[in-house]
Symmetry: C2
Subunit: 341 residues, 2 copies
């Protein structure tokens, strides 16, 4: 049988209440008594039963998720996964609050963070847009012992407990390797289309992409990045215009969201049929584009995995339980037509 608090109390010759105080590092216990209890714990190999503790505490985890609003399919997918997780949260003593702020708007994000009632919040996960005020607001949370997890888009490591998302430089490199090999030696130009060059993840993907193209596929030339603001309508206009002006385009790397716009342009003229297309994020649109051969590869991060991982990490931080690193590593997933879910 696993030892319990009773065994520890007996071994240490103290009461349950004192064992509990030591276990939870509550003040008001003589140093000598603390040592005594800790010895008993070590001797018996005692491990606390967290569900029993949570039951007694009537613990409820109140987690706040802050995500961007707007016409971005990937973010919609993320929100959808959050709603899914909410359904199961009844079984897990977890409350999820979903807050939305304007995309790429650091001021709005800071306002929300500053408005949080710290006494009501046990943990925060956010898709970060970096700014001084945002970083300060995060610091305030952490000083109040509220764990913070960044989702999809990171801030500097000192301001959060964990980052849940992919290495975007590596994602860009992956896109480039696929692009180079799929183009298959034909020389030509590569069009780059991002949401905004003010967002860290898009910048990083581009860096990774150009690294590999210039190092390993000298026959390919990356053109200036076009920005579609992660909006299908803007994207369509920008890309249509661009493809008409440029010659010899053999590949398109769509760095951000707005895939619907990309697809509309590419299917608008048979001339674009031979362009190799690598895009990001598996959504209904990109899934279909892969099936129909409009896209050749999609780099994805699993939004469901990210949501569940963020929840586990916040809980683990609160319960001070260990984390399985590999389970919390978000993969750079490659999808082609044949391995779609």
């Amino acid at each position: 049988m696993r030892p319990t608090v009773h065994d520890v109390a007996e071994e240490a010759g103290v009461s349950l209440a004192t064992v509990d105080r030591v276990l939870n590092r509550r003040p008001g216990v003589r140093a000598k008594t603390v040592a005594c209890v800790n010895e008993a714990i070590a001797k018996l190999g005692y491990v606390r039963d967290i569900s029993a503790a949570n039951l007694a505490k009537q613990r409820v985890y109140n987690f706040v998720f802050i995500i961007p609003e707007g016409p971005n399919s990937f973010m919609h997918g993320l929100e959808n996964e959050l709603r899914q997780a909410k359904l199961y949260s009844a079984f897990e003593r977890t409350n999820l609050d979903i807050l939305k702020v304007r995309a790429f708007d650091a001021e709005a994000l800071a306002n929300v963070l500053e408005g949080l009632d710290l006494s009501q919040v046990s943990g925060v996960a956010l898709v970060a847009t970096e700014s001084e005020r945002v970083l300060e607001a995060l610091l305030r949370l952490r000083q109040a012992n509220i764990p913070v997890v960044t989702l999809v888009s990171d801030v500097s490591a000192a301001h959060r407990d964990h980052y849940v998302g992919i290495d975007n430089v590596a994602a860009g490199r992956t896109a480039a390797s696929l692009m180079g090999r799929f183009v298959g030696g034909r020389p030509g130009k590569i069009a780059l289309l991002a949401g905004s060059m003010l967002v860290r993840d898009h910048v990083e993907r581009r860096v990774g992409f150009e690294q590999v193209i210039s190092a390993e596929f000298p026959e390919l030339d990356c053109l200036t990045v076009q920005e579609g603001r992660d909006d299908a309508v803007v994207t369509r206009a920008v890309l249509a215009d661009f493809l008409e002006r440029e010659r010899d385009i053999v590949g398109l790397y769509s760095i951000g969201a707005g895939n619907r716009g990309v697809i509309e342009v590419l299917t608008s003229s048979p001339a674009y049929g031979s362009i190799v297309v690598v895009a990001h994020e598996l959504t209904d649109h990109s899934n279909r584009a892969l099936r129909e051969g409009v896209f050749d590869a999609v780099i994805n991060q699993d939004a469901g995995h990210e949501v569940r991982s963020a929840i586990r990490l916040l809980k683990a931080a609160i319960d001070e339980t260990p984390v399985i690193a590999r389970q919390e590593t978000i993969r750079i997933e490659i999808y082609i037509r044949d391995n779609l879910l």
Copy 2:
């Protein structure tokens, strides 16, 4: 506040014990009383707190995992993940027993299954080798209400509760698409190397692979499958011999394990440097081969994910809790040099 058994008891005008009987579908309650309690449950929207129930029951999940022994790196990886999971099992009221049987030996597997003490086992996960006796043994488990999950390699659906693994036909198709595109239009022959054509997953991968090659890459020709018994030493001999005999080989699809042998042969002669290689399962060996350009792509299934998924599924079957389907779907992962973990 969430309603508890007390609220239900009061609402239904019965005692806690009776509520519990109804909740757990124990016999010896008047139909009328059952209905009454169920009404109260519905009215209050009561959901049972499973950790409290497990605490009261002192429930321990005893899970048996049966995996093949032998020199197969992927299976070693699986075993390693199981040992990892064992470390965390203290926190989860879970005991994991790992049993090993000779690979591809249905008789040995049946013996182990038949030898299980059903009163000591709450759930079984196994890498299946199919045979009449194995199927009968599985049926016996399920008749005793012990959930069964197949891992990596499946049996017919009627004999298990869940399959945790990938769709191997789709995996083969994925390998073929990558192969075809990476070869890039050069005509030539493709060498196929499997562990054994008696194992379902290898057969299925081959089927998927040949489907796509013949339909979409007519310039490529699949040669007869060679068998290396998932053993690096055998594999090396078979492959070395084969590559010396055959001409015009532009690609190699390694369907099974034994990657170490494949790598040794391929690096033994510069003549093999231009062969496009697609293999299965990310291990230390294949990881390195990707980094060094010996392999071009590796199709993987995440052993850690599979182990955790099997545990969750067995638990959910016992607790009768819902399952998040997407979380339990094992991905056909594609790795190239750039998206390695």
